[in-house]
Amino acid sequence: MAAVLGGDKLSYAELYDRYTPLIRAICYDTTRNLTDAQDLAQEVFLRAYEKLGELRDTELFSRWLIGISRMCCKEWLRGHLQLRKHQTTLEPENLETKEISNDGQIEELRSAITKLPEKERLALHAFYLQENSVEDACRTLDMSKSGFYRILDRARKRLAKLMQSLPEDKR
């Protein structure tokens, strides 16, 4: 982190590699569109770099980053809703998930994730985007292991239930 503060962009690239998928997933929960999520994640990392000097405890970088992404998502959503007000032609479906995979089941699952409570969504993102490492996920989300497992388990059960409630052809 000291190197990044000294202007070492390659060190920041390492942080980018480590956390970007998670931030994109978080942004995707709001945008429900991969391109917008990618753009928003870029914005998050740019803003984080500019304000890195304000971060007191480097151990809390991941939490700080998630905080920035939340803020960016809110801004994006606000802007998007204002845009919708003025563009009457924009249909509500524009906010629905745009398919990014040919596999219908995967798309349904991705859509189902966006319906989960935020805490459970974050647990899923952190676990599956950090190579199934519970330690990393716990550190990222600032949670205890037992707490994390409990939330992850709840998320997976809820997800399974959501998937079961879908029509047969979509499962």
């Binding site: 991969l34 699952l109 998937m163």
Partner: protein
């Protein structure tokens, strides 16, 4: 974690790695030369950095700190700072008081809308142990006061001095210049001093906290008070009545300042009441106040009485005793099956102006069935003068104590010409 949904989830998240290298290149290209410097002004002390751990741990620590602060605050907060007193504080004051002065106003309320009309007013004094005095003041009369030094017109004074073995009672009809002096000796010593003047306070002191509720705040004679209210039955449990008792106590100490008793008629209208005011808690009272005044020129009637009580060791009526209690017209009220035990007997001797009167009584404890029978008579308001018979020959008067819910009846056995000890020997047994 290798369930089918797990596999699918892995595939769901693959998409977030798409185009990663290109995007990283774009970002690095657009980054400014250096991140901003940490602002010096924002070097704020944050407790969280010291606590460390997960969010949940920090929340637990924060909750524990908050709880500890609250406990400390509760511990050191002056309990009586606002209206922290509870009914228990009032009761404690009543139990601990050593001397008291108060005015007892008996009121009559004609209707719910008229102001209470004072029927009688007593100024009461009490000094521990067992000294009491009640001065009755004339209400609504122009008669002159006979007591020369009295500031108010007083028509009756009752002074009592009581110890466990002796009671001196002086009842003075001031306007008529008549005095009744009653000196009673108790054997064995009585355990509870029946101080009439203190009865009101004893009854208040027996009301339990669960039967009271706070009714608010009021300033009485410049004293900030907290009010407590209870149903009149909590005050006088043995007499079935409707009404309420209110006690206004000093908000810092719990010392009663005003007591209001209100009795209701069946329809709910208040018919009578008692207000106790001008209360002086732990007032300095001279012993002379409780001494018999000079009775020169007065008509004096002196009664000397003694009570000798004996508690029976054999308490069961013998099976062959044909015990019955009848009304004067011969209707049977109780028989031997209604008696649970014979508890005690007593010889009561009275010497009035040289005339001796002796009365022997025994006390029968009734079982539930017997009590119900007595209660029925009491409820009907019928004449309670009963005739009790232990031996098929003699008849003696029996009576139910004033408290109709009491456990038994007193039976006068004077006509049997035996002492309580002889009664025990001839009529009682220890067997079942």
């Amino acid at each position: 974690m290798n369930s089918p949904i797990d596999e699918k989830l892995k595939r769901v998240y693959e998409v977030f790695y798409h185009d990663h290298d290109r995007l990283r290149g774009n970002l690095l290209g657009s980054l400014p030369a250096q991140p901003c410097e940490p602002p010096l002004s924002r070097n704020v002390f944050k407790l969280w950095y010291f606590l460390g751990g997960t969010k949940m741990k920090r929340q637990i620590v924060a909750a524990a700190i908050a709880a500890a602060i609250m406990l400390l605050a509760l511990n050191f907060w002056p309990v009586n700072s606002k209206d922290g007193i509870a009914w228990a504080d009032v009761v404690r004051q009543i139990h601990e008081v050593k001397s008291l002065v108060w005015v007892w106003n008996e009121e009559e309320i004609d209707s719910a809308y008229s102001a209470p009309k004072v029927k009688g007013r007593w100024k009461c004094y009490y000094k521990d142990p067992g000294m009491s005095r009640e001065d009755h003041f004339i209400v609504g009369t122009t008669q002159p006061s006979v007591l020369p030094d009295a500031t108010e017109r007083c028509n009756r004074i009752n002074i009592r001095g009581m110890t466990p073995t002796k009671s001196n009672s002086y009842d003075l009809a001031v306007l008529e210049k008549k005095a009744w002096i009653q000196i009673t000796t108790f054997s064995p010593p009585i355990t509870r001093l029946p101080t009439e003047a203190m009865a009101i306070w004893s009854k208040l002191g027996r009301i339990t906290s669960d039967k009271t509720c706070k009714i608010g705040h009021k300033e009485i004679n410049g004293i900030a008070c907290v009010g407590f209210e209870a149903h009149i039955n909590a005050f006088e449990p043995r007499i079935p009545m409707k009404g309420k008792v209110r006690v206004w106590s000093e908000k810092d100490t719990g010392i009663p300042v005003l007591v209001e008793l209100q009795y209701q008629a069946k329809g709910g209208t208040y018919i009578s009441g008692t207000t106790i005011d001008h209360i002086q808690w732990n007032a300095v009272l001279s012993d002379d106040l409780f001494k018999l005044p000079d009775l020169k020129g007065w008509k004096v009637e002196e009664v000397r009485s003694s009570s000798e009580q004996v508690f029976f060791s054999c308490t069961r009526l013998r099976n062959d005793i044909p015990f019955q209690v009848r009304r004067k017209d011969g209707t049977l009220i109780l028989n031997v099956a209604d008696v649970f035990s014979m508890k005690k007997g007593g010889i009561y001797t009275t010497l009035t102006n040289g005339k001796l009167k002796k009365q022997v009584e025994v006390f029968a404890v009734l079982n539930q069935e017997g009590r119900d029978k007595i209660k029925k008579i009491w409820a009907k308001g019928q004449n309670l003068e009963l005739l009790a018979d232990f031996n098929g020959k003699s008849q003696s008067a029996g009576y139910v104590p004033i408290s109709n819910n009491g456990p038994g009846i007193m039976i006068d056995i004077t006509s049997m010409n035996i002492t309580p000890k002889e009664f025990e020997d001839n009529y009682l047994t220890s067997g079942n």
